[in-house]
Symmetry: C2
Subunit: 209 residues, 2 copies
DNA sequence: ATGAATACGAAACGTACCGTAGCGTAAAAG
DNA sequence: CTTTTACGCTACGGTACGTTTCGTATTCAT
């Protein structure tokens, strides 16, 4: 490892395994990620897989890192629009991942604290931080009261998206997201009505609905 | 089953198994609920367990039904106090259950829709409905704007408790719950300031802090 | 060129836990 | 006293994990 001795790893194996894992994940969720099957479908030996990732959990996380690495955080200066956009993107990202898979990953991480941390860093934090950044900018701009507990508000918004996907009948719709953001903004903004007026001016979002 | 023919079931077995399962659940979470072990610790055969519950998931749910069946919903007429109390109770109930266990149960239910339904009815809905009832009474009383989407607000509050337990560094503190309730109330109350004043009068809660 | 180090595939293995089935015995109803 | 059901014991088949062994291939270092 330190010196470049010995036969080098075949990069195509990494690629093939990640690829197959991603497919399986989409089709059958985390349950479907069975190392032996993945290896066969990738035309690779089980040994080769375990040489790269210590277990199926970490293999899965590796796939998700690629996918959810960055949530593009918008920054138009319109607090309501930005927040809304941010949460819609988060919802989409999680939806694509799938409720069952997400639940299973969290459950798996429950035992091993380092596993939980990996999941958090790779999957959960990115969208959270996008929301945080958005709120931070809003506060810098003077849109929010200075005493607001930012992390708590971030939790309040993220959690909803999360919860609805995991346990609700269906995930959050853009309309519901908007309703919640507006309600919450009334509680934490210096001048909520001004923010609403500003957002009304930017209503070139979706002319439909 | 229909006629009372044959040897009757030993009620002590039911009790012993439920008891042991509850203990194991507290000590080692859902993972620890291994039928063979539970049976041995209860001094009972594996067969006897499977005769009563079809699988370990349902056995676990049966235990939780006893525990979380009812969350006592307060109804003092003070919207803020009631909500606060309600959420604190919910947090406590979930905390006792444990983050890992909760995650694993949700994950398990991900596949089987009927399993998911059982979990929802036995564990997730009771606290939700307590919050819902509280909000409903508040609206009846005229404390909330009439156009408020009640289920959505219920989700917003429940989700936070839930999310923080599952993924946060630590579960919600009473202070944080209060902060969120106040912020949200500003967004959905007809006269939030009046509610805050009323709550201030009821401050015999915890003289500490 | 030769040897150490590492990767690859194939196969078998050990472990854990699931849920089921057969069998002999015990306890109730008719 | 026969039928029905419960109970315990034991064994089984199944799935998936992650590990190990072994023979072969590939690369670097000397």
């Amino acid at each position: 490892m330190t010196t470049g001795r010995g036969r080098p790893r075949d990069a195509q194996i990494d690629a093939a395994v990640l690829q197959v894992t991603a497919e399986v994940l989409d089709q059958q969720g985390y349950r479907g990620v069975v190392i032996e099957d993945v290896a066969r479908r990738a035309g690779v030996s089980k040994t080769a897989v375990y040489r790269r990732w210590p277990n199926r959990y970490r293999l899965t996380i590796a796939v998700l890192e690629d996918r959810l690495g960055r949530i593009g955080a918008p920054s138009t200066g319109c607090t309501l629009c930005d927040l809304h956009e941010c949460l819609v993107l988060t919802t989409d990202a999680f939806c694509r991942l799938g409720a069952g898979t997400l639940a299973q990953l969290i459950a798996e991480g429950g035992d091993d604290p380092s596993a939980h941390q990996h999941l958090t860093e790779a999957v959960l934090d990115p969208p959270r931080q996008a929301v945080h950044r958005t709120l931070f900018e809003a506060r810098e701009r003077g849109d929010l009261r200075s005493e607001v507990d930012l992390p708590l508000v971030v939790d309040a918004l993220s959690s909803l998206v999360f919860y609805r996907l995991l346990l609700g009948a269906d995930p959050m719709s853009p309309e519901e997201i908007e309703a919640v953001v507006i309600a919450l903004l009334r509680g934490i903004a210096t001048d909520a009505d001004a923010l609403l007026r500003e957002a009304a001016g930017h209503e070139e979002h979706q002319p439909q609905s």
